[in-house]
Amino acid sequence: MSIEAVFIKGKRKYIFCSDEYGSRVLSSVFEHVKKEKLAYEWYHFSAEKREWLEEFLSKQKMGTFLYVVLPYSELYTVQMMAKRIGFSSDETQYIGYGEKWISIFCCRCHELNRAEEQQTELTCHQCRLKLEVSDHYSELHHAFLGYPATG
């Protein structure tokens, strides 16, 4: 994941997927693409439209380059989605901003809780159990295990 969008030349088409804040991050690359009269398309992201994005990305042809600028809380799902569809890492640039979120799996009720990356303890928002964040990670749940907090 980078901090600044970088223009990658020689692609058939460029896709910019971002929210309003993200479009500012992408502006210089966008200007470049326009100046060179290259093919492009904007996808204005909102969490409600996440499913449409999947459809939109699935329709893209080979040689398409994807820029995504979103809050970290959304970025990961989009990243997974694009990967699933078949975008490789040299066909994409992901830029996250804002607070980084991780998911914590509650060991008692199995609810996924959001936590900040540095957080070590939290209370499960569903069953109210106090949880200690561990580094035991499930790729299937995209989450770390929260153990019962001791003490």
């Binding site: 008692r108 199995h110 580094d135 990670y137 790729e139 295990l145 153990y147 019962p148």
Partner: protein
């Protein structure tokens, strides 16, 4: 309910006077995935209640596990019938099977390989007839994945969290496992496991209380007993928990069945054997802090050692 008292069937786990994590698997003498002990009925009742009250906690499966699940049904039924012909029987006509469990007075008819012929998934069905928890590990891309499992009596872990996980990730919480390269060595050992040559190992721990169901999900219910152990009540309250774990290669899906039979024995019963007390005392006194911590014994190790010392002194004064 008491789950103890089965001294005759207790798989005493120790050989030396020290204990470290290692690949302590050995080839099985009797290649059977299951064992029926005198507490069979009691445990089946408990297991079925847990399965129906907490299906998500006790049962998980992924889509591609179905063929493997049937392979487990076949293996387990064959083992039950060959080892305990007076209690279990099966009639196979082509794919029409009639399985009879005489202990529970049940007869189940189904079409082998036909999911809709059973009211539940095949692994769920067969797990209702054995004391063992059954875990299905699917092999792909030189790795093993936990693709299905029935787990009612876990030693403080969550099947719902671990579903779909790779072998090494499953063992991530164990201190020193990765650092010592044990996870890689055990994985390689498992990848070489051959059909017809099953292996078994014993895992042990201590617990306060006598619950078979020590799931991570219910830790708040059973974990607090750890704080109530004293050298006076340790004999009754503290139990040694031994899992007989068996590993079978399933040839059709090239996957692995991992069965876990959990045994509990109160320390006061362990103490009926003075050699056991002596050996266990030495092991516990010497056990490294990271293993003590991981097994959850830190709170009451001192009380247990005091209890064991008392038992040893009594032996000497007799």
């Amino acid at each position: 309910m008491k789950w103890t008292g089965d001294l005759a069937h207790f798989p005493y786990p120790f050989k030396d006077s020290t204990y470290r994590y290692s690949n302590n698997s050995i080839p099985m003498k009797q290649p059977l995935s299951i064992e029926v002990t005198p507490s069979y009925k009691k445990e089946m009742l408990l297991k079925r209640k847990l399965l129906s009250d907490h299906p998500e906690r006790c049962y998980q499966s992924l889509l591609h596990s179905m063929t493997g699940q049937w392979e487990i049904v076949e293996l387990v039924i064959d083992h039950l019938v060959s080892k305990y012909p007076q209690d279990f029987s099966v009639k196979k006509e082509n794919n029409s099977w009639i399985f009879t469990n005489k202990i529970l007075d049940e007869k189940i008819e189904f079409i082998f390989g036909e999911k809709n012929s059973l009211p539940c998934e095949p692994l769920f069905f067969i797990s209702q007839h054995v004391q063992e928890d059954l875990i299905y590990m699917r092999q792909r891309d030189d790795n093993l994945y936990l693709d299905a499992g029935q787990l009612c009596f876990p030693a403080n872990w969550s099947l719902a969290f671990n579903i779909g996980m790779k072998f090494k990730s499953i063992h991530h919480p164990i201190p020193g496992f990765k650092e010592e390269g044990l996870d890689q060595r055990i994985l390689q050992f498992l990848m070489r496991l051959e059909a017809g040559t099953p292996w078994e190992r014993l895992n042990w721990s201590l617990m306060a209380g006598d619950r078979l169901d020590t799931s991570l999900e219910t830790f708040d219910q059973w974990g607090r007993l750890r704080k109530q152990v004293t050298s006076e009540n340790a004999g009754e309250l503290v139990h040694i928990r031994v899992e007989v774990q068996k590993l079978f290669r399933l040839p059709r899906t090239n996957s692995i069945l991992f069965s876990i039979h959990t045994h509990l024995l109160a320390l006061e019963q362990l103490a009926t054997n003075s050699e056991w007390v002596q050996q266990f005392y030495e092991i516990l006194s010497e056990l490294p802090a990271h293993i003590i911590e991981y097994k959850g014994i830190s709170n009451y190790k001192k009380a247990v050692l005091e209890y064991l010392e008392k038992q040893l002194q009594q032996v000497k004064t007799l």
